[in-house]
Symmetry: C2
Amino acid sequence: MTTHDYRPQHIQVAAGLRERIASGDLGPGEKLPSEPELAAAYGVSRTTVRHAIDVIRGEGLIRTEKGRGTFVRIPRHPVRRDHTTRYQWEKDRALLTPLERGETGATEHDTGLEMGDLLFTAGYEMTAAPGDVAERFGIPEGTPMLRRTYATSVREAKDVPLNIVTSWLRYDLVAANPDLLDSGNEPWPGGTMHQLRTVGIEIDKITDELTGRPASDDEKHLLDLDDGESVLVLRKTSIDTAGDVAEYSEVILPGDRTVFAYTTQLQRWPA
Amino acid sequence: MTTHDYRPQHIQVAAGLRERIASGDLGPGEKLPSEPELAAAYGVSRTTVRHAIDVIRGEGLIRTEKGRGTFVRIPRHPVRRDHTTRYQWEKDRALLTPLERGETGATEHDTGLEMGDLLFTAGYEMTAAPGDVAERFGIPEGTPMLRRTYATSVREAKDVPLNIVTSWLRYDLVAANPDLLDSGNEPWPGGTMHQLRTVGIEIDKITDELTGRPASDDEKHLLDLDDGESVLVLRKTSIDTAGDVAEYSEVILPGDRTVFAYTTQLQRWPA
DNA sequence: GAGTGGTCTAGACCACTGT
DNA sequence: CAGTGGTCTAGACCACTCC
């Protein structure tokens, strides 16, 4: 006589499928049996099978494609962003001549991809600072700001860390250089630090704040995320040499394709 | 004549509910109409309403409680972990006498909570290094390791960042101090850096690697996460003054209650 | 055209919560 | 006890993919 399994049937089916995937019985990229087949095999209704599939899809183990089937997801190898060295690299680069900078951009610094593989979309806008942004800058709500939004997308190389960026700058600062308001100049050649230099601003330190949450519908679409994936949210605050906030930006990145790295150097104990 | 909405009905219902929440019509903590009521109101079946509810629960907007109802989720205010200063603080603390350290622990450093509010569970184990861990230490697979696992849990204060930690140390190093193998000593008083000091190890630098992914079933249970929430995964590698990896640990934290902060100090441009 | 996953219905029973 | 969300069924039609 067997002991009964009192868990709901769709949980049991999910556990069964999870086990088959973990054991390698169903390898990466492999197709699962169809829903009617699974229903027959487990002796449950198709609805129950679909609930089971919902569960393990929520864990990021499988991917469903309408009209084709359900497949074991192939893990994407994450791209490492070492921000301990990246920001200094960006700052050093801002001093070079356009010729010296050559074709090397920050995205290549992370990914090793060519500019041609990527598709940038960007937009400029003058708006009033909303509450949370104003708070970070330490300025009154409604202060005129330049808001830049840009996204990196690509349909081919699937391991690329697509991203969505919203960057805020004080309008009165950038207005000193008309070039910065020319939306024909996107993305800013030489990077933001280079462009800020043209209006006499030098970045002294940068604070990254990182958190995670489930992807919204829009983000799933833009970042090519499956159901039940997470995004990392990077809030980056750049402080200039006068101690003021020069730029604030929010970057949305796919959780499964991004690893942030930070190294902390500690002081030695006295001998 | 109205234009038709060709989206699936459960998506339309989800959009309707999302809008009511965003507009404040349904405020935080408030109870949604019951499923049969919603079905009647939108003119769809209860199944369709449940699919709609699944969608917005996956976005972290609502929470369902069996027998009670469906409620708008109250946002938890995240706890900030500033690792730029935290690690130096831990290292400085390792030099103090037990008296000087007093009752202040690292968790309080983050949360401001009393030790009494929290429940620690811990375990020691001697195991062989698996492949990925061996690689980080630069040692052969199968090398004897001390693996410590500990979890922080709490049922009351819901804003506490619960966590699950797996820490790896080379067995031959900690074996020099029998105290470190006494599982009665949990958690290690004075912190890991203090205990490593007793075997002559000083940490020189620490690298954090951060990524995000959806929570597994176990993690949902242990970290008190709702359906469709993400976790942050922190992989922390501590390098000693000889340049060797002294400790490697993996920390799982709830994405919605945790913000990591890192500040990068940049070098000044030449005048 | 056959097979797939996506959507949807109408109904049923259950365990849990509150009164 | 009545009301709630959780589970489950049997069946239907659809849009999509592939041959």
